[in-house]
């Protein structure tokens, strides 16, 4: 089931770290407060594309994004506080 936040743009929660690997195999996300990591086998560009248009994702990728939302890495875009990435 797709999360309700998929109806709007998303962003990486402030303070979360993202590292794209040089071999293009994927990215890792790191929450320094909870020292929790998660990974995705997509490029950084693809990932930010997912955040801009979450409603266009297929079921498999929507589920992956949903997991990141539940893990606290991704939140709904706060336009008032957003900064260029």
């Amino acid at each position: 089931m797709v999360d309700e936040t998929f109806s709007q743009e998303l962003e990486l929660k402030k303070g979360m770290r993202l590292h794209p690997f040089l071999d293009g195999s994927g990215i890792v996300l790191f929450d320094p407060t909870r020292t929790f990591v998660s990974s995705l086998n997509v490029s950084k560009e693809t990932f930010f594309g997912w955040l801009r248009s979450p409603d266009e994702l297929n079921d498999k990728n929507a589920e992956l994004l949903n997991t990141l939302i539940h893990q606290g890495f991704v939140v709904a875009l706060d336009h008032a506080q957003s900064e260029p990435l």
């Binding site: 770290r17 590292h19 071999d23 195999s25 890792v28 320094p32 020292t35 990591v37 990974s39 086998n41």
Partner: protein, 290 residues
Amino acid sequence: MKTFQLSISPFVFQIETDIPLVLENAKLIYQSGYTEDIQESTYVDYFLSITFSNGLRRFFRPQARFLCDDREPFKPLHANQAFAMLEWGMNWTVAAHELDYAIVHSAVLAKDNKAILFPAPPGSGKSTLTAHLSQNGWRLLSDEMALIQPKTNRVRPFVRPVCLKNSSIELAKAWFPDATYSSIARHTHKGDVIHMAAPSEASAACDEEAEIVGIVYPNYKADTTLDIYPMNMTESFMQLVSNSFNFTVVGNESFDTITQVIEQSKHFEIFYNDLNEVSAFLDEEIIHAN
């Protein structure tokens, strides 16, 4: 009660014991790193004790207790397992307290000062592989933990004996009859266990860091030829983090360190039963690869 120190670069352990088996094995295995001549000027990193349990237990099925300061991380074990318990206790002590390094549960071996990490769960044959390589042209940096300098891809040696279990014990004694072995700790939770002293060249190079160039996840399989699977950086990162002892404590610095190590290394998962094949593969594909 006797007090002795083990200088195992980069740490000094001061240990109290009333168990003769511990003294005998510590002298035998650590040789010049062992001293009973305690100098007040020596900085001691960790104060440990391994002693007989009190009361009737001292005489009936005697048991050994391990303490790090006043903490007792393990249940008492049979006294014939006391030296193995000290080894495991030193591992626990460093893994639980050390914040100056990113620490990964992994064997580390090097050639030409290029190091390969072998993170692996019990049963993967890691220690047998480590023993074999350390006696065949590879420098042993550690059988148990990689001490990675923060925000670099350099690993610090922590030269300790190799812990061999069950059928590997006779195999190692047959392959390396001139190596030095501890007494056997029988019927531990890992089965029968013995410690093989590090080669003297490895101990002599205990302050020489090496550059991490490879990460190999070994799996011993009795009925296989050498199967090699290249891994991508994302997979290897997640596996390395799951083998990290202090990732959750050190946090940001550990994340930076491990991502850096991953990006400057080659990554493989291997299934093997011939140790010479593994050695040749490591040489050609990692150490001497362009």
